[in-house]
Amino acid sequence: MIDYAYAFAFSCFAAALLMNLWKILMAHEITDRILALDTMFINAIAMVVLFGVLLGSEIFFEAALIMAMLGFISTVAYARFLLRGNIIE
């Protein structure tokens, strides 16, 4: 049962990733593209964590942590660029 749960969750996140990709490519609004990339980061974090759980390994934790931090920074950077042109002023 637990394996089905993992498989289900993986499929959900995989689908989510593909939907994010679709949105990044097809969105009309630039905000949607950035949002989708941000979401992609978060979905990726979920996948990394899931993968760690599945393998019973802790070595993926840092990756997830850092992705959380860096996904945020890059999203802010993209958004700031659109807001002010200048991301550090």
Binding site: F10, S11, A14, L17, L18, L21, I24, L25, I30, R33, I34, L37, M40, F41, A44, M47, V48, F51, I59, F60, E62, A63, L65, I66, M67, M69, L70, I73, S74, V76, A77, Y78, R80, F81, L82, L83, R84, G85, N86, I87, I88, E89
Partner: protein, 951 residues
């Protein structure tokens, strides 16, 4: 005196005139004369031995690997030439002292002259053909300086370049010929080569060697069709012409032919090439000389003609002809040098060399007239002067020479040329000195001082004496020299009267013809002027001009500054060569199985592929391309995680974000769109090349992944010893800080340099007018009002300590688990960048206590110091040490120098990333922006500000 010293004296002497010119012109000239004179004396000390038929040899190894030895030898031939070079050289030095004007830099002149003299002496004394080549080319170079001595004259520059080009070309051809010759003979030493006549003449390479060497000799001696440079070299001051074109440089070619005569001459190839060339040159030179109005041009073409004469004699290949050649070399040197000097005197006094503007000078310049007349008559072949003697010998030899079985061609043409020779000689006397005195000379001519006419006077004295007492005067010298040429012991029968021989008839015809030609000169000149004939200089100029133009065009076309093209060529070339390498090898069967594809990799792959394809499609919208790059970074990082490379995943994603920040900072100033510029065919071509490259690279890695290592990888050692020898369980980290710590050391230096470069560049750009442009720049997108939103500021403030904690965690665990100094450094840097982004550049910079330069420097120094620490325990650089410490009540923990090294990495990374981003940010920074507050909107501050007011 050692031959070394004789050869070296002119070169040593060359130093002094340029230095002593400050002490006066006489000092300068005297120093030059002293050097020449000493060398001449030294040479004369060898005279008795040489005239006895002995040779003197000295030598040291210079470049033994090549067979280039600094070997000198002195035999009759060398002695003859050295005597002329040094003797006439002395006279020229004297003459030039009075010829050159006050405006001319005399020191330079004598320096160049002595350099040239040294090179010439070197040629004639060399016992090694490679050494000879060295001196040979040196004469080209030094004569280039001499001919171009009057820098302000375009003719001087052009003449010098022409001489250099033609003789340089000959010299280069000769290098080829000499190398072949040396290889056939097995040595480059002339004395050895001369022993190998049969080997050389029977070699397959004889003809190429002969042709190449002869090109060298012919160009130097101005033989047809390379004769055209010589008249243009007359732009040089007259002493130069007198020296180079009577006794020395042009004779170098003759010397070479004479020198190699024993091994090269005697074959039909030699005969037809050399004789024919000489004959043609003799005729053409003589004819042209008659119609030249410039005195020096007349003499120049006469020189061409006489060089042809000697060449022809050498070409005959008989001993008697060789003797004649040697004798004429002597005679020509004496009368021609004297003639050049008189021409120089005329020019100097009358301020013109144009025959048409001269005449009647005999009344004004009696001394010069006498000297010139004697020398010219000798050139015309009038007895009893020395020119007559050798010309007789030439005619004699010519009279029984068959050319393609024809007995008349050579004698007839020789006689024809001799007639023209007599004619231009007579013209030199008649049209310059004879006739009525004129009143339209450009200046008022009169005989110069003794200093100036002493040299030619001495020479014409020789002309007369040799003519009268040839056997006594030069008999032994001619014998010795001819002996050297023919490798035998000939005895030259030098005397005025040989009886009534065909040569005497021919001489008579020639002199008579000469008088007739002079009489008909005006008419002939009209015909000559009317004749269409190729002007060598025009052709040469057109050729070199075209060559230069073509070169410029080719160069500009090839290197047009189009990186696009350069890159395309590079990529294509790499592709082609790699395919060639693959195609010429064979590939074995795969040894590994494919692995299954799960859902996750597939989804990741789709994302990656689609994003990459879309970057290409949408790359013109730059911002969107950057977002897509973000996807690729993310997926690659996920792939690294999935494929057992957690460290890589961490590094990739961190670097990714910093890169994107960097690009966004730059994109702010760049255009936001890329225009569509390349035409569709170019895009298709680029696409095709790119796809081929992609296929190649993909195919390569696919093939590699399906095969095992040929032998197990060295990384097995790393896995086996990471813990035991490196003290860490994260093998990748142990490799980075220990097994291959040196790579990492280089890597942080790269990063540090990158930051320094960026900093320096920022400074460079901002110190120009770009600064003003940036200050006045209007943003090209609508800007939001709020530049530092409070929510962001608060969150980043809270996150900063946490992020640093995470950085510390990543740093310390790196040795055993994924992480390490590099990633930690990036995270720490990002923690600071967050402050910059949220609170503003000015605000964050003010809070930065330690300069980033210092952080980079300390990082590199700490890493280096850690490496150097090992020296104190006698270990190599970067040897790590680690130990386990147990401090109750704490548990045991590890201390490793690798951590210190990693600290260096950490600091370098933090410093480098921050310095780079800070520098980039400065582009946008406007000095007016207030920096005391991080947040634009802060109601607490407003309230606080209002409260005291209300109170």
């Amino acid at each position: 005196m050692s031959l070394f010293l004789i050869a070296a004296l002119p070169f040593l002497g060359a130093l002094f005139p340029a230095l002593l010119i400050r002490a006066g012109r006489n000092a300068s000239a005297s120093s030059a004369a002293l050097a020449s004179g000493l060398a001449f004396v030294g040479l004369m000390l060898h005279a008795p031995a040489i005239l006895r038929g002995e040779t003197v040899q000295v030598g040291i190894d210079w470049l033994p690997v090549l067979g280039l030895h600094a070997n000198f030898f002195l035999d009759g031939l060398g002695f003859l030439f050295a005597t002329m070079i040094l003797g006439i050289g002395l006279l020229i030095i004297l003459y030039a002292r009075f010829y050159l004007s006050r405006q001319d830099p005399m020191g330079q002149f004598y320096t160049y002259l002595l350099l040239f003299q040294g090179a010439m002496v070197g040629i004639v004394l060399s016992d090694n053909i490679l050494l000879l080549l060295v001196f040979w080319e040196l004469t080209s170079l030094s004569s280039f300086l001499l001919i171009g001595y009057w820098k302000h004259l375009p003719e001087g520059r052009q003449g010098a370049r022409m001489a250099l080009t033609v003789t340089g070309m000959g010299g280069l051809a000769m290098i080829g010929g000499m190398l072949i010759l040396g290889n056939i003979a097995g040595s480059y030493d002339i004395s050895v080569i001369l022993q190998h006549k049969d080997a050389i003449q029977s070699s397959d390479l004889y003809l190429p060697a002969l042709i190449l060497i002869l090109i060298g000799a012919f160009t130097k001696s101005a033989q047809f069709p390379f004769h055209f440079w010589l008249p243009h070299a007359m732009a040089a001051p007259t002493p130069v012409s007198a020296y180079l074109h009577s006794a020395t440089m042009v004779k170098a070619g003759l010397f070479l032919m004479a020198r190699l005569w024993p091994v090269l001459a005697g074959t039909p190839e030699w005969f037809y090439i050399v004789t024919t060339t000489g004959l043609i040159t003799m005729v053409i030179g003589a004819v042209i000389a008659l119609f030249k109005d410039d005195l020096k041009a007349l003499l120049a073409f006469s020189t061409v003609s006489h060089l042809g004469l000697i060449t022809m004699l050498l070409g005959f290949g008989t001993k008697a002809a060789a003797i004649g050649a040697v004798f004429h070399i002597i005679n020509h040197a004496t009368f021609k040098a004297a003639l050049f000097m008189t021409a120089g005197i005329v020019d100097h006094e009358a301020h013109t060399r144009d025959i048409k503007r001269l005449g009647g000078l005999r009344h004004l310049m009696p001394v010069t007239f006498v000297i010139a007349t004697v020398a010219a008559l000798s050139m015309a072949g009038i007895p009893p002067l020395n020119g007559f003697l050798s010309k007789e010998m030439m005619l004699e030899e010519a009279s029984h020479t068959y050319w393609l079985q024809n007995p008349y061609v050579v004698p007839a043409l020789a006689c024809f040329a001799a007639a023209f020779s007599a004619a231009y000689s007579f013209r030199y006397i008649a049209h310059v000195f004879l006739g009525p005195k004129r009143d339209d000379y450009p200046a008022k001519p009169h005989d110069p001082g003794f200093g100036m006419w002493a040299s030619p006077a001495l020479l014409v004295t020789l002309v007369v004496l040799i003519g009268l007492f040839s056997a006594k005067m030069v008999g032994p010298l001619v014998d010795a020299a001819a002996g050297a040429v023919t490798q035998s012991h000939p005895h030259a029968h030098l005397k005025l009267w040989h009886g009534v021989t065909p040569a005497l008839y021919m001489s008579g015809i020639a002199v008579g013809g000469g008088v007739l030609l002079l009489a008909l000169h005006a008419g002939l000149e009209r015909i000559w002027t009317a004749l269409p004939r190729p002007e060598a200089k025009v052709i040469f100029d057109r050729l070199t001009g075209a060559l230069t133009e073509r070169s410029a065009a080719i160069t500009a076309r090839l290197h047009d500054g189009s990186l696009t093209r350069y890159a395309l060529i590079m990529v294509t070339f790499t592709l082609v060569i790699s395919l060639f390498a693959y195609g010429t090898g064979t590939i074995g069967a795969p040894t590994r199985d494919l692995q299954d594809v799960g859902l996750l990799p597939l989804v990741g792959w789709i994302c990656l592929i689609v994003a990459t394809a879309c970057i290409v499609l949408f790359h013109r919208q730059r911002f969107i391309a950057l977002i897509l790059i973000g996807i690729i970074g993310l997926i690659v990082s996920l792939a690294f995680n999935f494929l057992s490379a957690p460290d890589l995943a961490l590094t990739q994603i961190s670097v990714e974000v910093v890169t994107i920040i960097l690009m966004l900072l730059a994109l702010n100033f760049l255009p936001k769109q890329t225009p569509a510029e390349s035409p569709v065919p170019a895009r298709m071509r680029d696409g095709a090349i790119s796809i081929l490259c992609g296929l190649g690279v993909g195919g390569l890695i696919y093939a590699l992944m399906l095969r095992d290592f040929a032998v197990p990888s060295i990384s097995e050692f790393h896995l086996a010893n990471a813990y035991k020898g490196g003290g860490g369980t994260n093998v990748v980290n142990v490799i980075l800080v220990d097994f291959r710590g040196f790579d990492t050391f280089g890597e942080i230096i790269v990063l540090g340099i990158a930051a320094l470069v960026i900093f320096a560049l920022t400074e460079a750009v901002l110190s120009t007018r770009v600064r003003a442009y940036l200050l006045n720049r209007e943003p090209d997108m609508p800007q939001a009002g709020d530049s530092h939103p409070g929510l962001m500021v608060v969150v980043t403030r809270m996150m900063m300590p946490v992020a640093l904690m995470v950085a510390a965690y990543i740093f310390f665990r790196g040795h055993n688990l994924p992480g390490g100094g590099f990633i930690a450094g990036l995270i720490a840097a990002i923690a600071v960048i967050m402050q910059y982004m949220a609170s503003g550049f000015g605000w964050a910079t003010e809070r930065q206590r330690i300069p980033y330069h210092g952080i980079i420097g300390s990082g590199v120094l700490i890493a280096a110091a850690t490496g150097l620490g090992a020296w104190f325990s006698g270990q190599p650089f970067l040897t790590s040490a680690f130990g386990y410490v147990h401090l109750p009540p704490l548990e045991e923990f590890e201390l490793a120098t690798a951590a210190l090294f990693d600290l260096g990495v950490f600091l370098a990374v933090v410093g480098a990333v921050m310095l780079a981003l800070e520098s980039l940010s400065r582009f946008a920074w406007q000095p007016g922006i207030p920096t005391e507050h991080a947040m634009d909107i802060n109601p607490a501050r407003d309230t606080a500000a209002q409260d005291p007011k209300e109170a």
